[in-house]
Symmetry: C2
Subunit: 340 residues, 2 copies
């Protein structure tokens, strides 16, 4: 999926979140002739399936005895390809503004999308990285302190401190050890990583190609103008300064409904309350589907999110095409509509 | 799927109907450790998908950009294989008898299945063949008058009258012309069949390997002791006797809830009313899922039936395993349980 270049859009349905349920909503809308624009805080489509467990096998997608999370997303991308949805990735949906029958969603990158209906398919929330409590952290973020490796050239040849002890920290140690001087800081001497990855990390530490500082915790950052020069860690014996021009923070992802919480939606424990017969929220034209939706009997399975997307699309049709009759047709009879 | 040989069964969930939704209910129950026995009026699993449109492409199964109805059923059969459900095919579910917390379903072949929960996944109903209004019809049925070819040897070398003008009539003319003397009786000179099939039929008529009697309608049957000797048809000029020892009636399938209508279930226009938060009917422990279920906002899509199967299975767990805690787990975490 290519991110769309245009910033001001008018469409039928704005979909927030492109995990499996958001992607299938694009399909269901497309089958009814509704155009869609999709926003996601992550840089890639697939939501948690891609960000958290791409290689895990899923067994309960109907008529796929087994499919990897990545395979599921690839199939869904093929399925929605005919509908040419616009994608606005790497940007959180910041504000919701109502005007007449329309809603405008404004993203953190200034993209504004106006539509009759908005589907909130934000899963567990906006999946923000866990940020440690460090003085002056904002000053360095996205300049020399990162939560993900977006461009590996940014790290090449640098002194890099990686903080964390899960799969992500361990995997990046292995990948970056080829290109930079890597120091791994972890609060415990053990890791929560795939055994094979941990074995490879131990071998790199043994060969002195990765330096392990553990148990230790981040205490302070040194540098000026956003350019890191060192990381102070606290060890059992006291603080130590590690020279570093890059810090990669791998403390996992935080589930948080994020800016949604200020949109006037009726919420219950970080979930959006909906009427399950329509998937509509307390705001007319705003729907919630998938894991973020809450209603009596809600089952947090991907397959149920798919069904909720279908229900929302059929209801939203009436809002997007007032006066037009929605003739119920099976896909076997009508095929996949072509879009211009 | 092999039909089960044993007639008296005790299980956790009895599933009535094994179209796609009934089959997926077996999977969802299995994932929760619930055993299932399945009843269907048809001789093969797959419901309408196999009986009515096996080769039609379906486009709206999530993460299958396209799959044939037969392919869908094959995949579902693979998916449920680990759970070793029992199948009781070719028999309508006739009676429902409650005793304490249990329900017993009795089939037309005398099979009795007792369980805590029953899932009615009967689709559009029991898919009975359309029966013409002919005197003494019952006398010949299943002896020399048939609605389907179950054993082609029954027809070999016979004089066969085939009645109807749809795909089924045309396809059987083509198939049986090799083996018997075939006369096709249809009320109109045109057919509602695939163009290629119609072309092949026309060629057989041209070559005098199939005799076409049209426009004509069935008027009477001749014969004794269930053994047909002739079929009287009415033509514009009057009646005509066609010599025949077999009559194959291809007048399509009739959707009818069948014996279900006498079970005390709350119905609305041949649908079973359910609480959509649990999929339970007015009778505790009896659930309805898929096309036969009715509730506000019901969408008659296969994918929504899948989600309904999951909801019913999770609710039925509490009934089948009172006191046991259902720990919600993703299939990625627990895999597919093994059953003994």
């Amino acid at each position: 999926m290519q991110s769309s270049e245009f910033h001001d859009k008018e469409t039928d349905v704005t979909v927030i979140g492109c995990g499996p349920v958001g992607l299938f909503a694009v399909f269901q809308c497309g089958m009814l002739g509704l155009r869609t624009q999709v926003i996601d805080v992550l840089d890639a489509v697939g939501g948690q399936c891609i960000a958290l467990y791409p290689d895990k096998p899923i067994y309960d997608i109907p008529s796929h005895p087994v499919i990897s999370a990545r395979g599921l997303i690839e199939q869904l991308c093929k399925q929605i390809a005919p509908f040419k949805a616009g994608f606005h990735l790497g940007q959180v949906a910041l504000r919701l503004v109502g005007a007449g029958e329309n809603w405008t969603v404004v993203t953190a990158k200034g993209c504004e999308i106006t539509s009759r209906a908005v589907f909130v398919a934000a899963g567990a929330g906006s999946l923000q990285p866990n940020r440690p409590n460090l003085r002056r952290l904002e000053e360095f973020e996205d300049k020399s302190v990162f939560y993900a490796v977006r461009d590996i050239a940014d790290f090449s040849g640098r002194s890099v401190v990686i903080a964390g002890g899960g799969d992500s920290a361990v995997d990046w140690c292995i990948a970056l050890a080829e290109l930079c001087t890597v120091t791994l800081v972890h609060r415990r001497p053990n890791f929560r990583a795939a055994p094979e990855s941990e074995r490879r990390l131990r071998a790199l530490i043994e060969a002195e190609r990765v330096k392990l500082v553990a148990p230790a915790q981040l205490q302070d950052l040194e540098g000026e103008g956003g350019q890191l020069t060192g990381v102070v860690v606290s060890e059992p014996n006291g603080p130590r300064l590690l020279s570093a021009s890059r810090l990669l923070l791998c403390y996992g992802l935080l589930n948080d409904v994020g800016p949604l919480s200020g949109w006037g939606l009726a919420l219950q424990v970080n979930k959006v309350l909906v009427d399950p017969t329509t998937m509509q929220t307390n705001l007319p034209g705003i729907y919630a589907i998938g894991d973020i939706a809450s209603f009596p009997g809600k089952l947090k399975l991907i397959l149920n999110g798919f069904a909720e997307a279908a229900i929302a699309a059929h209801h939203a049709f009436g809002r997007c095409r007032p006066g037009e009759l929605l003739r119920f047709e099976y896909s076997t009879a009508k095929g996949v509509p072509t879009v211009s």
